[in-house]
């Protein structure tokens, strides 16, 4: 039971720094370009594993020693409230901030347990912690700004090739990142090791438990951790190599500094530090040095608020949990477990619902996209169909025209041949009267042919089909027009001259002019208006 409680506490308190803080360390390395170097590719995982296991074998830890001043767990039963309070407070802070201050929450939860058990907290220890928590980010920002300025001054007047400069900075970044990882692990290892000190196991067993927990958590967290890592490398650290190097060095120095007894000389405590807070502080420091904002003011405020909220909540949670457990023994423990389960369920439900809402939104937007595409596709189809129909109609008309033209030629030829034969027959007639009668008949048939009534009717019929829309609009707008006037308007719209219209309508050009005049008056046009332009505009 004790072992389970410890493992549960490690999982609860340890998974959050892995999720939120480790991407900052890894992201800084990737952003510097060192991630593609063999030294990082092969040595980095080895170093990470060592950093996880080694603290269980090293007794010397000023961070743990200072924390012992607050509370040293002597019973495994009290380990659970520490883990739960840390995890709960960090989760709540993490709902509105990217970097919840997990180590601060952890220290505050120890203080909460101490307060519940002893009824007081050592004021000097509490003060030294608060002082350290304020000093660490400030120091980090100052260091980052200073290192950046140092780079700028040292390379300002030197002609150095960009590739050489980059290679040097990358080398510095690699060394600094090794230091950062080691110092970060050493500094934050208290979250894993401190709890196990209450248990009868440490050393190899403790290391195995930590490694086992890491292995269990890895498949669940790998995706999220690598996504957050790339996010930090690509967006937060989309800056020059000098700035990235300054970020890594300043964070490493501050972690090293606060993992040693040195802060005690300034009345501060060796304390575990949240890497996210230090990261935002370094970005702020570099922004000041470069006079260009690298981080939003809102992000800085959120991170600061989270580093205040996390320890405050953790203190409260740990105090309440221990009080309930101490007063109600088994019933109290069960009550706490139920409370914790409800809280965990609430958090998971909130996250699940957020995820579901997001998926719904994505689905909705995709449906909208599909609908819009389908709509435009249908419009295109309709347009294409109409165009096709129009083209088919035109083709049909042209075909008919061609057939008519061929028939007309044949007809004309037949008529001419017949006429020729008849004329020859008339010439050979001996009788004058009969000759005259035959000639008259021939002339009348020729006149009839000249007026080509059938062809004209065909022409009008075809014209009406082609300009059906115009005829409809004309009839609608001017219902008092006669058929002849409509024909005239149609011919004028097609651009025929008065002379040609006269021959088409079998009237004299003068009559055409008179008809045009009548049409103008019926259309209500004044002298200055252009008739053809007006007809075309209908």
């Amino acid at each position: 039971m004790e072992a389970y409680l410890i493992i549960a506490s490690i999982l609860l308190a340890g998974s959050l720094p892995v999720l939120r803080d480790l991407p900052v360390v890894n992201g800084s390395i990737l952003a510097s370009g060192a991630g593609e170097r063999l030294s990082i590719r092969y040595l980095w995982p080895l170093l990470m594993l060592s950093c996880l296991v080694l603290p269980f074998f090293i007794d010397y830890s000023p961070v743990s020693d200072t924390a012992a001043g607050l509370y040293l767990p002597d019973s495994t039963r009290l380990v659970l409230p520490v883990g739960l309070a840390t995890a709960g407070a960090s989760m709540i802070a993490g709902l509105f901030c990217r970097f919840p201050a997990v180590p601060y929450a952890f220290i505050a939860s120890l203080a909460g347990v101490s307060l519940a058990l002893k009824g007081s907290i050592n004021p000097s220890t509490a003060c030294s912690y608060i002082l350290s928590w304020m000093a660490a980010p400030l120091l980090c920002a100052l260091l980052a700004a200073g290192i950046y300025r140092l780079y700028a001054i040292s390379y300002r007047n030197r002609t150095i090739h960009l590739a050489i400069l980059d290679a040097r900075l990358q080398g510095v970044s690699i060394l600094a990142s090794f230091l950062l990882l080691a110092a970060y692990s050493l500094n934050n290892s208290i979250l894993f090791t401190y709890i196990t000190k209450a248990a009868p196991f440490s050393g190899v067993l403790g290391a195995c438990i930590a490694a086992g927990c890491a292995l269990v958590l890895y498949p669940f967290m790998h995706r999220e951790v690598s996504m957050a890592t790339w996010d930090i490398a690509d967006y937060d650290l989309d800056i020059n190599t000098q700035s990235i190097s300054s970020v890594i060095i300043s964070m490493a120095v501050v972690f090293v500094l606060f993992s040693t007894p040195l802060p005690a000389f300034a009345g501060m405590a060796a304390t575990p530090l949240p890497v996210g807070l230090l990261f935002i502080a370094t970005l702020y420091g570099i922004s000041v040095a470069r006079q260009r904002a690298l981080v939003h003011g809102r992000e800085i405020l959120k991170t600061l608020a989270s580093s205040l909220l996390s320890p405050a909540l953790a203190l409260m949670f740990a105090y309440c949990l221990v009080k309930v457990m101490e007063d109600g023994s088994i019933v109290g423990t069960v009550f706490v477990l139920v409370l914790v389960s409800l809280f965990a369920g609430g958090v998971f439900f909130f996250r699940w619902q957020t995820g579901r809402d997001l998926q719904k939104q994505i689905l909705h937007s995709r449906e909208q996209q599909v609908y819009t595409t389908q709509k435009s596709l249908s419009a295109l189809e309709v347009k294409a169909e109409m165009t096709e129909k129009d083209l088919l109609n035109k083709l049909d008309l042209k075909r008919k025209e061609l057939v008519d033209f061929a028939l007309n030629i044949g007809d004309q030829k037949k008529f001419m041949e017949q006429f020729y034969e008849d004329l020859r027959g008339v010439r050979s007639l001996p009788d004058g009267e009969e000759k005259d009668a035959k000639t008259d008949r021939l002339l009348s048939s020729l006149r009839e042919r000249m007026y080509f009534t059938r062809e004209i009717n065909d022409f009008y019929a075809r014209s009406e089909v082609l300009h059906r829309d115009f005829n409809l609009r004309l009839t609608e707008a001017y219902p008092n027009l006669t058929e002849n006037e409509k024909k005239l308007a149609n011919l004028l719209r097609q651009g025929f001259s008065s002379k040609y219209i006269a021959s088409l309508m079998n009237i004299t050009p003068k009559s055409v002019e008179i008809n045009r005049y009548r049409l103008r008056s019926k259309l209500g046009l004044s002298r200055s208006d252009n008739l053809i332009k007006f007809i075309k505009s209908i």
């Binding site: 370009g33 593609e36 960009l162 590739a163 290679a167 040097r168 080398g171 800056i239």
Partner: protein, 221 residues
Amino acid sequence: MGLFDIFSRKKADNLIGSIDKLLGIVDHSLLLFRDGVKNYLYRDESDFIENLTSMASLETEAGAIIREIESTLYSRGYLIRSRGDIMRLLERFDHIISIISVDLVQFEIESPNVPAGLRKEFVKLSELASLAVESTIPGTKAYFTRPGDVAETTDKVYFYEKEAVKLSQSIKRTVFHNMVNDLKLSEKFHLRYFALHIEDLAKAAVKVAEQLSVMAIKRSL
């Protein structure tokens, strides 16, 4: 590269060497281009063919160097913040080498009939276009060492490009207005086409200069 050669300069030096070599190839190509155009115009066929052969081998060499630089930049994590821009710049230089090569090949294939009166203008045009490209080389070197000096060289590029465009227009005007009866319409079009191709070289140089200006600004941020 070993595990522990964290501060090794070997790869960085190789990279610098490759970039310098590529710029050297661009410079050499420009010399070949000028010489090639002159040889074609003054009917020195054997030298012109030699220019063509040299240009083809330079083009192949440039391609290989660019691939090598790309591999170093992307597999070794060098210049991670500016490698995209650097590759774009080098590709623009590769494009310039292609333009030079294609222009010479087109002279060889199409054999344009350049009237004697226009030879000097064509030689001058090729020189102006080459000067525009040539001016980008110190600018590129300055980007890597002293980004503040890039602006000085880009001004020269813009000047030579403008001069090249002016001369190209004057050639076209002469061809279409003053040689109405001397040349067939097809020959006029052909000459205009070649003037445009040489002008393209100057325009490619301007693109390099623009890219350099953007990169220099990015470095100063």
